[in-house]
């Protein structure tokens, strides 16, 4: 409608005809003005105009709200039923209680947790809807709304903004003959750009592979600028630490026993079917006790080596006393269990660098592999019976 009215806008380039029209309007001969009166519908100035887009959004929002209200009521009723079934007070029945009840009433052996039966408030089950991106008149809020990916292109816009600002700054510094401080230079080692999935999550938009590539290229270009450290905060918003999964647990502080010696006990050291616990005393003389026997508890050399390896590695041999109890499994499993327990306990007596070396050497990693069961119809876990076609 705006267009149609604007089409009537007088062209500034045709002065003569226009003058005539204006004069005609003033003189009251009025053919032109009456024509406008007919064609343009009169509306009250106080009436609030709501665009079609907003109307449709409001309708959808109401529908969604009704649906959610219904779901919420159903959830409340279900919760009360469940509490009654479990013989508990429905008023104080919490979400944890619901989870336990569901697990008890509908036991499921499915591996995938998402596939198991669940009962959760509808807000958690149904995805959140996007709020309206435009006001009552239908005018979008974001200036890049019509690109379809406003948040993504906003980031690109910000990058070019920073690039231009930094270039200006660099020029001014060159004019003043000042070099960028090499100590402040942006160091991105140990960081990587956030991956596509987290970027999508951050932007709440789906982006293509090419878009992601473009995004990375833009950031690489931005970080190459000498004064990039000035916008560190902006850049680090889109990076993540490279070693985020490397997280060694803090070593426990050793206890003091009645003799004034430090000691640490590691319980439940697993390897294959063996389970053991290890006590390390510091300072010591290198005495090793396994189930009240010496290192000769293990008859083969390999198992003994296994046991001593963490001590040799950390150079703690003959500096600590070790007492172990171990049961289950065979010699190699028992030796492996004790090896892990000794390594885990030694962390309390060595410094951070050695702990990091132990981690890299794999001493702090539990070995969860266990024997695979035999299958019927075959010889073992994997091996089949000998079979000849004819």
């Amino acid at each position: 409608m705006i267009l149609r009215q604007i089409m009537r806008v007088v062209h500034p380039l045709r002065p003569v005809t226009l003058q005539k029209n204006i004069l005609a309007g003033i003189n009251g001969s009025d053919s032109y003005s009456t024509e406008i009166k007919d064609s343009v519908p009169q509306e009250e100035p106080t009436k609030k105009n709501i665009s079609k887009a907003m109307k449709a959004y409001l309708e959808r929002a109401k529908e969604h709200e009704d649906f959610m209200q219904k779901q919420r009521e159903e959830f409340q009723i279900g919760k009360r039923h469940l509490a009654n079934m479990m013989g508990e007070d429905p008023e104080t029945f919490t979400q944890d209680d619901i989870d336990h009840a569901i697990e008890y009433l509908f036991p499921s052996g499915l591996y995938e947790k998402k596939a198991r039966p669940l009962m959760k408030p509808p807000e958690e089950v149904f995805p959140q809807r996007k709020a309206a991106e435009f006001d009552e008149s239908g005018r979008p809020y974001h200036f890049l709304f019509y690109t379809g990916k406003p948040n993504y292109y906003q980031v690109l816009h910000d990058i070019s903004h920073h690039l231009i600002e930094l270039n200006k700054f660099e020029d001014s510094m060159i004019r003043k003959k000042i070099q960028p401080d090499p100590n402040l230079a942006l160091d991105l080692s140990g960081y990587q750009w956030i991956d596509k999935e987290s970027l999508e999550e951050k932007l709440v938009e789906t982006i293509g592979d090419k878009d992601y590539e473009y995004f990375i290229n833009c950031f690489v270009r931005l970080t190459a600028v000498p004064y990039a450290y000035k916008i560190k905060d902006f850049i680090f918003e889109y990076t993540e630490p490279l070693l985020n999964q490397v997280q060694t647990y803090d070593a426990v502080k050793p206890h003091i026993d009645s003799d004034g010696k430090q000691f640490i006990t590691v319980y439940e050291c697993p390897r294959k079917a063996a389970r053991g616990d290890v006590t390390i005393r510091f300072p010591g003389t290198g005495k090793i006790t396994i189930n009240n026997q010496g290192i000769t508890y293990f008859e083969d050399v390999q198992s003994r080596e296994q046991l001593l390896f963490p001590l040799i590695f950390t150079d703690m041999l003959n500096k600590v006393d070790i007492e172990c109890n171990v049961s289950g499994g065979g010699p190699s499993g028992q030796a492996g269990a004790l090896r892990w327990g000794i390594a885990w306990g030694l962390r309390s007596f060595v410094d951070q660098d050695i702990i990091e070396k132990m981690r890299i050497a794999g001493l702090l990693t539990k070995d969860y592999r266990t024997r695979e069961r035999k299958k019927p119809g075959q010889w073992g876990a994997r091996r089949k019976f000998t079979w000849k076609k004819r």
């Binding site: 267009l3 806008v9 100035p45 887009a53 959808r60 435009f134 200036f143 816009h157």
Partner: protein
């Protein structure tokens, strides 16, 4: 220059007319808003966009430079002055006329709270255009055009969406050969378009073509400045009229 003089004399005439209409408004108080609308719409240049620039400004911003004459689109012939050293030169008097017409429409759309979107392909000037759009409180699209943003908007945005009321193209070509798809889509959806058309462009689908250089940063800055000023004039007037309670939708 001759044309400009004739226009100024016309402005004097108009001010006489305005004062006449003023007197009449005082007589008919209850019809004031309606009269105002007529005045705004009938006025040849209500927002006075003609004083935003002079032909000299255009010349200084190198708007008269076209592309090489080998790439001339024949539909641009009416707007060109000639060719110099193998390059097309635009007739800036004509450009000024068309640009004023375009600025006038822009100001009117802004006055009616229309949605205005800026288009520009090419990395060189994209940031400038986006910045201008942001400052105006309007919209920009300087990226790859996914087909269907206008023609299939409900699907693309997932809901009923208000489309722009005016598209302003700072260049109408994607690259040297292909026209921006949004020109065609806007024509399909009956959205008015303003386009800076260079000597190798096709002005036929543009509602308000403005012949001129579409890639040098100097001219791009001038266009951005002018359209921004026109939009601000429209919006200011709108605010003023809403405050006085005489704005009528």
């Amino acid at each position: 220059m001759l044309k400009r003089i004739s226009k100024t004399s016309f402005i004097n005439l108009r001010s006489i007319c305005l004062s006449a209409s003023h007197r009449q408004q005082q007589l008919e108080q209850e019809n004031a808003p309606k009269k105002l609308r007529e005045e705004v719409l009938l006025h040849p240049d209500y927002f006075k966009v003609h004083n935003l620039f002079t032909v000299k400004d255009l010349f200084d911003a190198r708007v008269h430079f076209g592309h090489r004459d080998g790439s001339l689109d024949e539909r641009m012939l009416p707007y060109i002055y000639g060719s110099r050293l193998g390059h097309i030169i635009f007739d800036l008097d004509k450009t000024a006329e068309y640009l004023r017409k375009a600025l006038n429409v822009t100001a009117h759309i802004a006055y009616r709270d229309g949605v205005i979107i800026f288009f520009q392909r090419g990395a060189q000037n994209a940031y400038l255009v986006e910045k201008t759009a942001k400052e105006c409180g309007e919209f920009a699209h300087t990226r790859f055009w996914r087909g269907g943003i206008f023609t299939n908007a409900t699907k693309q945005f997932g809901c009923v969406t208000r489309l722009p009321d005016l598209c302003i193209f700072f260049n109408t070509l994607n690259n040297v050969l292909i026209q921006h798809t949004a020109v065609r889509d806007a024509a399909k959806m009956l959205i008015a378009t303003i386009g800076i058309v260079d000597s190798n462009c096709n002005p036929n689908l543009i509602t308000y073509p403005v012949p001129g250089n579409d890639d040098s940063p100097a001219s791009m800055e001038l266009y951005c400045k002018l359209f921004k000023a026109a939009i601000f004039r429209g919006k200011e007037k709108r605010k003023e009229h809403i405050e006085q309670n005489i704005y009528l939708v």
